[in-house]
């Protein structure tokens, strides 16, 4: 693994894996912190979110990645799903969290922690 000298992981940055290990649309849970961190590849951008749901402590990253439902009176059922792949929904009670920000529409004051992620020399680096 070659690392450009002046862009080595610094401070609390950790090199987690090679970018090829997380193809677009997939994720990987890495053992950082007490509950782990889920790293998601959403259309080429990486996001990292704590693997812990603030509702009842469920394993957030075992859930399904989906979009969010919005009102759309043009469609049958008056609803549509938008921004597919940008939200992780907890497997227990389906609380949805925006991967980029960790916020949930269920209870906005109960956001979950996200971590800065960058790609450095084909490797995923997270600050955690």
């Amino acid at each position: 693994m070659s690392i450009v000298r002046d862009a080595r992981p610094a401070g609390r940055e950790q090199v987690v894996c090679h970018v090829d290990e997380i193809p677009v649309g997939s994720h990987k849970v890495v053992p950082i912190g007490r509950h782990g961190v889920g790293i998601y590849n959403v259309a080429g951008t990486f996001y990292a979110i704590a693997n812990y749901c603030p509702h009842e402590g469920g394993p957030l990253c075992s859930g399904r990645v989906r979009g969010k439902t919005v009102v759309d009176s043009e469609r049958p059922g008056d609803s549509a799903t938008v921004r597919e792949g940008e939200f992780i929904h907890c497997p227990w009670h389906q609380w949805g969290f925006e991967l980029a920000t960790g916020t949930t529409t269920v209870k906005p004051e109960w956001s979950i922690r996200t971590y800065p992620v960058r790609v450095m020399d084909q490797h995923v680096v997270i600050t955690a």
Partner: protein
């Protein structure tokens, strides 16, 4: 979290005290698994000749994938959540930290014939015994099962209770609330009789019935499924009133009833209302005691689903007012999506009732031992 793979199905000799009794775990048969236990002629007539499709009446979030279950509870063999005893054991006992799980198989089928419903109950009981309560399925001694009976056939139900009474891992009898007439009707006496003879509580898990058994409110069916679900509590409230005012607890002073997943906060105003009617009517009711005393002595309610306002203090006060420490039983509802983790639930209980609700009431209700074999790696719920 890494779990050691357990290969030997023998209970460890070291014991631990029971700290969490989970009053609602759902075992589910793998497809076709109950076929061998189904008595004829019902097996051929109902199961082998009628492929059953699914009618979706309950629209939980992401239903197409989650099927109203915890998304992480689907076994890898493609069967339904709750069908793999090992996965259920790992998630409900080891990971959640419940010491005992009371199994509530949801028996019954889409037929109106009492004998066929009785046959379905027989099949469920035999399957439960073979898969969940056997020395292989219950090697850890953490499951307790239910005798499912068809309340529509009380005499046959009593015979089924006799058959399973004395089984070391049977904890309760399971009936439905939707059929008419209500539980106070004397036709159900054989069931209460068998229950008190063997000192088994009679439990009812919520159900939505079918056809004319749908729990229709007095003003007709509600507009949406989500408000229909509130009628489960109203159905239970009506059965409680029938038990009390039709004198079932005077006929059978040792009878104990458990209402599972009907919520419980409604019992407080209902007790107030029944007590008010009783104090106005006095001896006309034929009751020997206040209705609320019957409720607190004879009926138990599970904590799941927990209804609560924004201010948790209001829930704590309500629990104290209804003597929740006497009447509540913790339950998880594993593997449904409405699952309540015990570590989360216990935080919502006032401290004074935690021991009772999390395990003491469960031990008393289901006649459980004080200790169970200790399991390596089990989460300890601390409170």
């Amino acid at each position: 979290m890494a779990i050691t793979e357990i290969h030997e199905r023998t209970a460890p000799p070291a014991l631990k005290p029971i700290r969490v009794v989970d009053s609602d775990v759902h075992p589910v048969p793998r497809r076709g698994a109950t076929l061998e236990y189904f008595p004829e002629p019902f097996r051929s007539k109902y199961l082998l000749s009628h492929p059953i499709g699914e009618t979706i009446t309950y629209d939980a979030p992401d239903y197409f994938y989650a099927q109203a279950m915890r998304v992480d509870s689907f076994p890898t063999d493609g069967e339904f959540p709750g069908s793999d005893p090992d996965l259920a054991f790992r998630q409900a006992i080891l990971e959640a930290g419940c010491d005992i799980g009371i199994l509530e198989p949801l028996a019954g089928g889409w037929y109106n014939d009492p004998d066929a419903l009785h046959a379905a109950a027989i099949a469920m009981n035999r399957w439960q015994d073979a898969v969940w309560l056997s020395s292989e399925g219950n090697w850890h001694q953490r499951w307790r099962g239910s005798v499912s009976v068809s309340i529509e056939a009380p005499e046959a139900a009593a015979r089924e209770i006799e058959h399973w009474a004395g089984h070391p891992y049977i904890a309760q009898i399971l009936i439905k609330a939707e059929p008419r007439p209500s539980w106070g009707d004397p036709k159900y006496n054989p069931i209460w009789e068998a229950a008190v003879r063997h000192d088994l509580p009679v439990t009812c898990h919520l159900g939505r019935g079918q056809y004319d058994n749908l729990p229709i409110p007095p003003v007709g069916l509600p507009s949406y499924n989500h408000d229909f679900m509130v009628t489960y509590s109203l159905l239970a409230a009506n059965q409680v009133m029938s038990l009390v005012f039709d004198g079932v607890f005077d006929r059978f002073p040792a009878l104990r009833i458990v209402l599972v997943e009907h919520a419980f906060t409604w019992i407080l105003p209902l007790m107030w209302r029944m007590d008010a009617i009783y104090s106005a009517r006095g001896s006309e009711t034929g009751l020997r005691r206040k209705p609320s005393e019957y409720v607190k002595d004879h009926i138990r309610f599970t904590t799941q689903p927990l209804d609560y306002p924004e201010d948790r203090l209001e829930l704590a006060r309500a629990i104290e007012w209804m003597e929740g420490g006497k009447i509540l039983l913790y339950s998880s509802d594993y593997p449904h999506w409405t699952f309540d983790d015990p570590r989360w639930l216990v935080k919502h209980l006032p401290e004074s009732v935690r021991d009772n609700v999390m395990y003491r009431n469960g031990i008393e209700t289901y006649h459980l031992p004080e200790t169970v074999p200790a399991l390596e790696g089990q989460t300890q719920v601390v409170f």
